[in-house]
């Protein structure tokens, strides 16, 4: 029985654990303490919990300046505000100034369900992939969240951590360590490479197809070209599945990587295609409507297998 756990709770808990051992860890928050499970952190470390109010642009600048005094800063909000509102401050004050800030954007993708188009951030990977110096990560589940947070707290480069709202299945092998720039084969297969990130990719386990190789691409930038190319070379069929716009998403990054290396596999990109999201009570309903649900994946598999 697969249990469900909350990715954002895992984030909050991990940060408390890290901050207990490291007095340099700070949170710069924009009025979403409870939503990011940071109540404990704020209670235990009040002087290291900096509350900026609903002012994400200033919060990004504060985080940058604070990081420059040697603190390990986590900038926390919803991704529809940070990095969406404060992108240029992230570009200039964080990336260009080499300020080591970890930007944590929660409630990403259609998985924020009932909140609707304004809050379903479907462009964050595109925004953050584009920035020099910026690393981009999206954890598969609560366990991988814990691993990634511990790693980026020590990384010398700024990172964007894409979190989601819902409770999602835990499938990550706790014995696995997380390494920046490394992707993990979740299930071996011979005929199709399926790449994705976050809980969206977990749907692939509901597809009864022994020949599909499922790769967790939680390190979106840097990409693990070795693992990806090795798999694509073997299968010559590639599906990328993501809860994000097609434009600027992982699919484009992988297509560029694969084509540049001289491979030309059959390719299907399952992502939101140039549309806004909308409210829905459960994610399956939304995923189906936007073409990234389990049925869409099954269809894509049969299409890609029939392509000559």
């Amino acid at each position: 029985m697969v249990k469900n756990l909350s990715i954002r709770q895992a984030f909050g808990k991990t940060l408390v654990k890290l901050a207990t051992q490291d007095a340099g860890i700070y949170v710069v928050n924009a009025d979403l303490k409870s939503s990011l499970s940071l109540n404990d952190f704020a209670k235990k470390f009040p002087s290291r919990f900096i509350e900026c109010g609903v002012a994400e642009t200033n919060a990004a600048g504060i985080a940058a300046g604070l990081a420059k005094t040697g603190k390990k800063v986590f900038l926390t909000s919803f991704s529809c505000f940070s990095p969406a509102i404060n992108w240029n401050t992230i570009k200039q004050s964080i990336c260009y100034n080499h300020a080591n800030v970890n930007i944590v954007g929660s409630h990403s993708g259609l998985l924020s369900t009932d909140l609707g188009a304004t809050h379903q951030m479907l462009e964050d990977v595109a925004l953050m992939r584009a920035l020099p110096n910026m690393q981009v990560f999206a954890p598969l589940d609560a366990i991988e969240t814990e691993k990634i947070v511990s790693v980026i707290a020590r990384s010398p480069l700024p990172s964007y951590l894409r979190l989601i709202r819902s409770q999602t299945p835990v499938v990550y092998d706790p014995k696995n360590s997380f390494t920046i720039g490394k992707s993990y084969v979740l299930k071996k297969g011979s005929d199709i490479t399926l790449l994705g990130y976050g809980p969206t990719i977990i749907q692939a386990f509901d597809v009864d197809n022994a020949k599909i190789e499922i790769i967790n691409c939680s390190s979106i930038k840097p990409l693990d070209s070795e693992t990806i190319l090795k798999s694509v070379k073997k299968t010559n069929r590639l599906i990328v599945l993501e809860d994000h716009q097609k434009n600027g998403g992982l699919g484009e990054a992988v297509a560029s990587l694969v084509l540049s290396s001289g491979l030309s596999p059959k390719f299907i990109h399952l992502a939101v295609d140039n549309r806004f999201g909308q409210s829905g009570k459960d994610f399956q309903q939304l995923y189906k409507h936007y073409g990234i649900g389990v049925e869409n994946l099954k269809e894509a598999i049969s299409v890609i297998m029939s392509l000559k």
Binding site: I50, C52, G53, A55, T57, N58, A60, G61, I62, A63, A64, G65, L66, A67, K68, T69, G70, K71, N88, T89, K91, Q92, S93, Y96, N97, H98
Partner: protein, 264 residues
């Protein structure tokens, strides 16, 4: 108290650096001269007085286009050779067209306005033992982020933060009062919980006194420095077309040089 001899020394540096700045912009083909000339004395007051220790205190040039003034100041301090000033904004030069940490002594790379005060608040919060001075332009107070930072500085009691406003009344497209009036800027900062002083931004005695007072304050401090766009060159003064100059003709360059030598 600033001794008369010290004041005269700063005045002589002001004349010397105004000439360096003019040379730099003339020989490199152009640059943001108007605001650089208005803010130069503010940077000299900071860097050439005892009130600021550039190895431990922080200086953030939020209005990154004013970098020519900072470059000549840091060069005069000996942080890099004066010879490279003419490479300003050329390919491969450390002297980028907007202020950059590639230049020794520069702590913040900027150019997109409104961000420096936030960054300065972060520095002031993380390093309470030392002073953080931010230099902003009047025009950039039209950016909402500046006011988000102003609220923050007050909430976190950043008494070690000083924002010096180079208030020259002009911006790229015209007079600030026409483009978007700032209204009662001092009153606004006071309402945001700051201590405010208004000074003549070309009077070293008054600027330095204001910074000394600010350092003693428990509140974040705003020094509104009334300055003159294009200060020292009659035909550039109060003319927003000199916000940025490209290929200054030789006769105008020589005239400007003469004016600075004689009066600056």
């Amino acid at each position: 108290m600033l001794l008369v001899s010290r004041e005269n020394y700063l005045k002589s540096i002001s004349r010397e650096l105004r000439l360096d700045l003019l040379d730099m912009i003339y020989h490199s083909g152009g640059g943001h001269i108007g605001g650089s000339l208005s803010s130069l004395d503010l940077m000299i007051a900071v860097y050439f007085s005892e009130i600021f220790h550039h190895k431990k205190d922080h200086f953030v040039l939020s209005a990154g286009h004013l970098c020519p003034a900072l470059y000549v100041t840091l060069s005069k301090l000996g942080l890099f050779p004066k010879e490279i000033l003419s490479s300003y904004s050329s390919f491969g030069s450390i002297l980028q067209g907007h202020v950059s940490t590639d230049v020794p002594g520069v702590e913040y790379s900027g150019g997109s306005l409104g961000q420096g005060l936030s960054f300065s608040c972060g520095l002031a919060l993380g390093d309470k033992k030392n002073t953080t001075i931010c230099l902003t332009s009047d025009g950039e107070h039209q950016e909402g982020q500046t006011w988000e930072a102003a609220m923050f500085a007050s909430k976190y009691h950043l008494g070690n933060l000083i924002n010096i406003v180079d208030y020259n009344h002009y911006q790229i497209d015209g007079a600030t009062d026409d483009i978007m009036p700032l209204g009662n800027l001092a009153g606004k900062y006071i309402q945001f919980g700051w201590t405010v002083t208004t000074v003549d931004g070309h009077d070293f005695k008054k600027i330095i006194k204001a910074i000394e007072l600010a350092k003693d304050s428990d509140y974040p401090n705003c020094i509104i420095a009334k300055t003159i766009l294009g200060k020292g060159v009659s035909f550039m003064q109060y003319d927003y077309h000199y916000h940025d100059v490209k290929n200054l003709p030789e006769n105008l360059y020589l005239r400007a040089k003469k004016e600075i030598e004689n009066h600056g």
